[in-house]
Structure formats: structure tokens, C-alpha cells
Symmetry: none
Subunit: 242 residues, 4 copies
DNA sequence: GATGAATGAGGATTCATTCAT
DNA sequence: CATGAATGAATCCTCATTCAT
């Protein structure tokens, strides 16, 4: 796998195929179908289907890396708010749920798959590191009250992840809002120095234009608003079955 | 499906097969193999493999129902501690990880499966109801400070679930302890009236003898320490592949 | 199989199951479902599914026998007209097509099944014998011109059967009318003595009230107008798949 | 399915499998076994077993098309005689009965199968068109007396088809001769202008060397006298059961 | 007689992966 | 590089038939 263009086109195909079929129902053919190349070629570039997905995780990780740096110059409170919104609501509110569902499926394969596990660990480490950095910066800047950044980061990430997962799997969208309010009540209100306050209600208009995942979609060469199913609410999208 | 014994034996087979193969790799044959009956019989009792798993979720739900009542007579603070320990650590510390991993796989299929979704929703509703009940009881008993039980329950469950999921998928056991401490710091310390305090460190010896999931194992007719893989730590168990 | 009531109820179940599922898709369960007894009992009374169908053919044959006698006292020309209408249009015009389609499927199994073959031969022999009898009676009565009854009977039955089959299989209803007119033109017009004439157009109102197959339905204990699909024309009924 | 050779080899395998197993008992494996390829390959080229059979009907239709043209330059009376012989007796007298039985089974599935129905209709339309053409040509050439070609064609085809079906299913070979004589008596003797006469007895020696179905066999790449069962008379061949 | 339970022997279809060209 | 063709190993599910009660 030398040619970055070929890789990019495969990665994009994987992304789209995951959105439409989910991970469990994903076939090599599904990926090839979203490429202008043949299925056989996939196995020329990769040793196995698993290998392709492994590289996809790597690809995601690389993109994430690039994006994180971009928010480094913002003040800690703002970065924290962006982080919360990004994690809890993802791109375009409920958009791309199907992709996140597929990623969730993939995550559940990590216990059985060394490669997946390793990549997801790197990703987890990095995610916590970013949040810890924000918290530490806030401490140093005197914007946050004294606390243990590591412990707090772990709690917040667990809470956000848990909320997102329940929303994605059982379609309970209200979870997101409840958990957001819960973190505001129990954590942020105490975390922020007395003069500051975490926005009680989420106001999307204050968000920076291009958040992380918009960028992911852009990187993948689509508009982040492709032909994948996006509807949601009470009835999660049925898997696309050919 | 009239005979409860037959159902029980199938449910147990499903449990064991899930532990050994995970959900994604689970075949009807795997289930039958853990029964003294033939594969065809499964389809005599159930319409499809999916149907079997659906009933398994129902079965789990029924057991859970029965167990919850048993802790009702304890004081709220104790119930809360039991709840946290049960959720975060599950039975026998790291035991039966493989089962929980499989359940996690199954949960990720809910977006594609109406039946799974519905059962998991019932389960989620009940779980939150139990925690809210504990919180409300504590408020009424004056053991807890004023707070919004619904919001708090949602936050705690999300955090516990998220921690467990990360531990299960990427094998980061320290997540559990970090999140436990985080909730103690940010939530429980404020929640409990001044004279009470949430145990800073978890001490298994103080736990009541038979917690929920020991009971599940017992219900399923095994010792909760069966032949399923149990090793964990840094390297999650590889799926048992025939 | 001693009890005639049991046999009758099974025969009726076979009839209904054939109407709804066709022969190829017919299962022992389908038959049992239309009985108030269990599937196992079928195999108590019969050695095999094939055996059941064999007895069903026998049953049909017995009914047919009884019916034929009833028209014996009519004049030959009238009997001939009834025969043609009965054969070409069956009961209630296009009704019970599904049954006849199933019987056609069954007939095609005769080459592989000694029992079926034998019963169908008996049935064929009898059918030709009846027509020959009519033709011979007409000859003797001077109502028909000189001809070879055996040869004519064979031709007519082949033509009627072929027309019916094409109508049933490819849904070309016009075949029936064309063949009826064809036989009138080429056979009946020459067959009938100069003073008589075969009705050029078929007029159902002149038919005797209860023709053969109404009786079959009645014998089977239903109204000959059950819940089986009856629609037809250009698009033959799709098989009922549970 | 681009390669015509592959298609041809599959079509031939279908033909042979149909001869040996009949339609009802035909499995994908039976077809693959008569190929030098694997069963999976069938599903690479076709979507389903049904799809294969659908294409087989199409294939037959194409062959038939080609053959019809070849007799176009003969005089109407001769074409009529060839038509009758071909239809009533098929290739090599009683040869390939098993194939025709299988086709009959397939025809009875048309009511349940849109694709089969459509192809069989095309085939039926063409068959009648050919006969009507012969009759019309004979009228124009003054070789046939005045009549309605459409009506006559329908009658003849119904009679021939009905005769063939009865012969195939119940093994009454005499039907063929009787119906042939019947048509001669009632139709052809009147149809032909006074100076001509339809051959009273069938004399195979006068038939043109290569009739239609010899050609089919040849097209299919075998000698028309393959290893399929051919015995007949009173006891139709038992289906070949593995 | 009657039945619920049980099963063996398929049978259609899928899919990751390989290979000749 | 690229691909169409090819396949082995599964996998779910069906169903006639049997059997213990």
C-alpha cells in the first residue's frame, strides 16, 4: 500500500460501506462496490478484510491527530465546551449516527482482535490526553478550581461515551441532554472558577464552524452529508440490506 | 415453548455459547452443542436464531427483575454502594468479562433489530428507575442532599456504562477505579449529607455475599465460574474459534 | 385407517392445503394445520406423505364415480354439453383454479410415482369411458353422426385438457373459449345430426345446478367457495407462503 | 454472465440434471455436478436457482427461435405434418421423455413464478404464431380450405399438448396415435383441399432428417441420446435418486 | 389413538480469499 | 496493477419421519 490516493479511496469506501451496512454486515464486496476497483484488488493491497478495517482505524486516528492541534490556541473553557459538544452530539447533531453505530460494532470486536484493540487504545489514550490537557491548562490559567485532571477526564469521557452509546443503541436521544446537564450540575459548576459558568443549555450557534467530525467527512472526500441514512429519534435506522 | 426446563437449558446454552464465541461468531450449532439436544430442536422451539437471542434478553430481564426486589429493604446509601459496585465491577471482579463483551456486541445490534432494541429499552428503563428510586429514597430519608434524581441517575449510569465498555473493549481495567473515584469526588461527596461519606476505596469484603450476577450464574444453572474463558487484564481473551 | 370421519377430515385438509400451498410447497404440517389433530397422527394413519396424497387421489376418484352416474339419464347431447362445460370451465367458472393447479403439479409427479400413476390412469380410463359412453349413446340414439367414439373421445379430452393446462399455467383464459369454439367448428358441428346443433356460445345459465365439482367441494365439507384465493385472469395467483 | 461458453455449459448441465432428477427434485448441486465447476460458481453467475432455471427457459426459447426459421421454405402441408410429428412424438419417438416430464413440472410452477410464466407465455405465443402462419400460408396457397387459423391453431395445440401430457404423466403412449388419428379425421381431412390428404399413418421415414429437438440436443452439446433415462411404455422411469 | 418433542439429512445461499491471466 | 472467475467452508433453516409417553 504505497499510493496514498488508492488508500484514500479505499478508506472512503470503507466509511461509506460502514454507514450503509454496519460493521457486522459489512462484506468485502460492499467496500469494493464503493470503489472504482475490483474486490480482488482489496486483497492485493491488504492481507484480509480485518486488515482493511485495521487500517481504517489507523486512518481515523491520523485524521484525529491533525484536528486536535487546531483547537490548541483557544482558551480552556471554550475548548472544554467544544469537546463536550463534539463528543455528545457529534457532527450535525444526529447526523452520521449510522457511522457511529458501525464504529461501536467495531469497538466490540476489539476483545477478539489484537489490532483493533491496539488502535482503539491509542485513540483512547489520546482522547484522554487531550481532555487532561484542557483541564490542566485551565488549572494553570486559574480558570478551573483545583481537581485531579486524570480522574476528572476519565469520569467525563466515560459519561459522554456511555451516553452516546445508549443513545445510539436504543435510540434514547434524551440521554444526551440529561447527561450534559448532569455533568454541568455535578462537575462543571464546581470545576469552573466562581466568575465563570458552563453554558447551562447547549447553543449550537456558538460552536466553531468546523468541528472534528465535519473534518473527518471532508477528509474522506464527501460533504459529511452523503446519501447515508440520517433519520433518527425513536426508531434507529434499519440496516441497509441489499 | 411450554416446558420451563427446556427453555432454561437453552438459555443456559446460549449463555455459555455467548461466553465462548461472542455474539458475532455465535452459530445455532454452538448453542445446540451446549445442549443435549439437536440443532433442529432449537428451530422447533424458536422461529429463528434471532428469536432465540430475543428470548435470551427477555430471560435476562426477568432474572434482573427478581433480583432488584431483594435489595429493596437496605438503606439508600448501602443500596447505592451495592449498585455502583455491581455495575462497575460485575460479579467476581473480572469474571465473566466474556459474557459482558458478548452482551455489548448484542447491544450494538439493537439499531438493526427491533426486538433487541425494545428489550434493551425496557432494561434501560428499569435500570434507571432503580437508581432513581435509590436516589429518591435517600432524599426522603434525609441521607442525600437536594438534587435532581433523574439527571443524576442518567449521569451515573452513563459514566458506569462508559467505563465498563472501555474496560471491556480495550482492556483498561484502571478505568473502573478512576471512574469510581471520579464519581465519589464529583457526585457522591456532594450528594451525601455531611455526616455520611461514600467509601473512598472499594472494599469487596464489605459487599453482601450474593450480588446480582452471581445470582444470574446460579439461575443459569452453573457455578458462575464455568468453563468459559475468564482471563483478562491487558490482553482480552481471544475468541474461541472452533 | 378405519374411521371414515377421520379420513374425510384429512382429505378435506389435504384439499384446502393444496389450494393454499400448491403441491410442491405442501408440507405435512400444512395438512395437519387444517385438521384438529396433530401432524404425528397423519403418520399414524398413513405411512408417508406420499401415501396421504395417494389416498387423496383415490378419494377424488370415488367421488367422481358417484357423480358420473347421476347424469346418466340425460340425453346424449345434453350430457356432452355438460361434459364440455365441466371440463373446460370447471366449477364456478374460474373458481378453484388453485386446486386445479395443484392437481396439475401432482399429475406431473406421476412419472416418478407408481401409486399416483396408477390412480391417475384409472381416472383417465374412467373419464374416457364416460365420454365414449356419451358418444356411443348418441350414435345409438341417432343423435350423432357416424364416427369412432374412442378416437373422438381421445381427441376431445386431449384438447380440453391441453386448453385447461395452458390456461392454468400461463393464465391465458382466452384459450378456453378458442378451444371450445374450435371443437364446435371442427367436431361438434359434424358430429351432431343435421337437425341438432351444439350451442355456439356457452351459456352458463343453462347448466344444471350442481355440476361435478361443486359436489366435490360439498363432499369435502365446504361451500366450494372457501377462503382460498380465487382471483385470476392475467396474473395467476401467487402461492401462499406462510 | 458474459462468456457464452460458460452459459452453454451450465445450460447443458441443467438439461442433463433435469432429465435425471426432474424439476421438483432438482438441486443446485445436481447442476454443479454436471459441470466441471463448483456449486458456488453457479451463484456467482446467477442470483438464485430460480434465476438459473429462468435463463434455461430463455435459452430454450432462443434455440426454438432459430429452428423455426429453418422450415419456413417448405410447403404448408409438409410443414404442418412436421409440426404435428414434432409436437406429438418429439425427438426419437419416446426419447427424452424425462426431459419433457421435467419441463412439464416446470410449467406447473408458472402460476407461482412470474418469470417462468412470462417466458412460457412468450413460448406459447410463438408456438401458436408458427402454426397460424402455416395455416394462413396454406390458405393463401389454396392448399387449405377456408377456416379460422387462430381458432384452429388453438385447438390443435391444445389437443397435441393434452395428448403429450397424458402420455408423459400416465404413460399412455396410445394417446398419441389416437389423437393423431382424431385430428386427421376431424380436422385435417376437412382442412386439406380435396386433392390433398393428411397422411393417415405416421411414417417416420418420411420425416426430414434433423428435426427441432435433435437440434436442441445438439445445441446442448450432447448426442441427443445421452446417459439420461429413456425407457418408457407402461412404466415411466423412476426418478433418479441419489 | 394422540401428541409434543426430537432429529438427520439435506439444500440454498454467502463470503473471504485465491489464482490465472 | 487489476480483475473475472472460482471455490471451500460455513450457516441458517426446513421437513418428513420417529418415538416416548
Amino acid at each position: 500500500m504505497t499510493d496514498p490516493d488508492v488508500r484514500a479511496s479505499i478508506m472512503r469506501a470503507v466509511y461509506e460501506a460502514l454507514c450503509e451496512h454496519g460493521y457486522t454486515e459489512l462484506t468485502a464486496q460492499d467496500i469494493a462496490d464503493r470503489t472504482d476497483k475490483s474486490k480482488s484488488l482489496l486483497f492485493y493491497h491488504y492481507d484480509s478484510k480485518e486488515d482493511i478495517l485495521g487500517d481504517f482505524l489507523e486512518f481515523l486516528f491520523e485524521r484525529f491527530d491533525e484536528r486536535v492541534a487546531e483547537t490548541r490556541d483557544r482558551p480552556p473553557v471554550e475548548r472544554l465546551a467544544v469537546f463536550v459538544d463534539w463528543f455528545l452530539y457529534g457532527p450535525e447533531e444526529n447526523d452520521r449516527q449510522s457511522f457511529h453505530v458501525a464504529m461501536l460494532e467495531l469497538r466490540t470486536q476489539a476483545p477478539y482482535n489484537e489490532t483493533f484493540r491496539e488502535k482503539l487504545r491509542k485513540s483512547d489514550d489520546q482522547l484522554r490526553a487531550v481532555l487532561e490537557e484542557i483541564l490542566r491548562d485551565g488549572l494553570e490559567a486559574g480558570e478551573f478550581n483545583e481537581h485531579d485532571p486524570e480522574e476528572t477526564a476519565a469520569l467525563l469521557i466515560a459519561a459522554f461515551d456511555g451516553a452516546r452509546i445508549r443513545q445510539l443503541t436504543i435510540g434514547r436521544d434524551e440521554y444526551l441532554e440529561q447527561v450534559r446537564k448532569g455533568t454541568a450540575t455535578w462537575v462543571f459548576d464546581d470545576l469552573l472558577a466562581e466568575d465563570a459558568s458552563f453554558p447551562a443549555d447547549r447553543d449550537p450557534s456558538t460552536l466553531p464552524e468546523s468541528d472534528q467530525q465535519h473534518r473527518l467527512a471532508a477528509d474522506l472526500g464527501n460533504d459529511g452529508n452523503g446519501d447515508a441514512d440520517e433519520s433518527n429519534d425513536d426508531e434507529p435506522t434499519e440496516r441497509d440490506r441489499e
